[in-house]
């Protein structure tokens, strides 16, 4: 009802602004795109692939100059959605839409949409650590590996190889999973398992 009584912008003006019609020069300069085809092809019509071909924008300019796109796969669930990472000078600047991926068609759930967070998260461990007298202390990699392997060898010498249990991962690459199994074989125990069990 009442809403229809708003002042209408004067016809022909570029930018309407409610009470007064202003022409913001900054706004007027902006490039207005004929986005129709591009938009629908990506967002709406993954199912109606006929539109995909027309995904051409009129005056597209890149936001990040000289960036390259790296294709990878989301690390959350087994659907295996594609991710296009925009990398500029070795920094992952933006997560782009992997619209070509045959399974996901650019789609993500909330976890995958924030995949970049895995790399930029402040909560990531920054260096090797160990607990000393109940306090976390930093180590160098050399120290850590030396201490761990020394202890492993000691335990192996005292209790045999089956004193070690190895929980591998479904979150590493297939190659790494293979190495984990191979490691257990070389270590000499079948005490190895991963999340597929549960």
């Amino acid at each position: 009802m009442a809403i229809s009584k708003h002042r209408k912008p004067a016809p022909g003006k570029t930018v309407s602004s409610g009470r007064r019609v202003t022409l913001n020069p900054k706004v007027a300069r902006r490039s207005f795109l004929k986005l129709s085809a591009a938009t629908a092809a990506l967002s709406g019509a993954a199912m109606t692939t006929k539109l995909t071909g027309k995904a051409v924008a009129a005056e597209a300019t890149p936001a990040y100059k000289d960036s390259e796109t790296v294709r990878t796969i989301c690390t959350y669930c087994a659907v295996g959605c594609g991710i296009e990472a925009e990398v500029q000078n070795g920094v992952w600047v933006r997560q782009e839409v992997a619209a070509d991926h045959p399974v996901s068609r650019g789609a993500h759930c909330c976890k995958g949409a924030g995949a970049i967070d895995m790399v930029i998260s402040e909560k990531r461990l920054k260096n090797p650590m160990k607990r000393v007298n109940g306090k976390w202390t930093n180590l160098t990699w050399d120290q850590a590996i030396d201490e761990i392997t020394a202890k492993l060898t000691e335990i192996r010498d005292n209790n045999g190889p089956d004193a070690l249990h190895f929980n591998g991962s479904a979150k590493v690459s297939t190659e790494m999973a293979y190495l984990q199994r191979k490691f257990a074989a070389f270590w000499g125990s079948n005490n190895i398992d991963h999340q597929a069990r549960i």
């Binding site: 902006r30 986005l35 990506l42 597209a60």
Partner: protein
């Protein structure tokens, strides 16, 4: 001229919040500010429906009408944007908006609201394209890049459609025909008084 539109297909929306995080992560929106959110009606009951809501970029936007400082403006392609440097954070737009789109981060003075923040249709703001200022204040400007807003392009089930209104309508119409279940876009029964 293309007229930018959002449409959320409630038959498709699965409440995964992909759009919400895509928006936040892409535009570095602070925690607590929801440019887009998913709401669920009749949770856990038959007839449960979810709907992704953000600024709908109304043709005759009430926020523009009530803004006392004309901080909100509409581009030719229908995208409604706010100039954060002009905005005084009075909150009138929030009261006028039927969708709860305007968001207000806490300002520095007396806990008063800071400048309004809302969905930009990934079209940045009035500052220079891709400039530092634009990115900081508004996030990405994907429209200037010829790209679709993040939320819609990352929608898990393609429930959220964004783009030229006529194309969005075509896509949706096509779906409705294929479904054979009639028009069930959110609000249609209301709009045509079929409730």
């Amino acid at each position: 001229m293309a007229r930018m539109r959002f449409l959320c297909d409630t038959e498709r929306c699965i409440d995964c919040s992909g759009c919400v995080v895509a928006c936040k992560e892409g535009n570095h929106v602070p925690v607590g500010i929801n440019r887009r959110r998913v709401i669920t009606m009749k949770q856990g009951e038959p007839g449960e429906k979810s709907l992704s809501i953000a600024c709908m970029h109304c043709s005759d936007a009430p926020c523009i009408a009530v803004c006392p400082v004309d901080a909100i403006y509409q581009r030719d392609d229908g995208i409604v944007l706010v100039d954060k440097k002009t905005c005084i954070g009075c909150g009138y737009c929030f009261m006028a908006c039927p969708f709860g789109a305007p968001q207000f981060p806490k300002g520095n003075v007396f806990g008063a609201r800071g400048a309004m923040d809302k969905c930009t249709f990934c079209a940045g703001g009035p500052e220079e394209n891709f400039g530092k200022e634009e990115t900081q204040l508004y996030g990405q400007n994907r429209i200037a890049e010829g790209k679709v807003p993040l939320c819609a392009s990352m929608c898990a089930t393609k429930a959220l459609l964004a783009g030229d209104g006529s194309v969005v309508a075509d896509v949706y119409r096509d779906r409705v025909f294929k479904r054979g279940s009639g028009v069930n876009a959110w609000g249609w029964s209301k709009a045509y008084d079929k409730s």
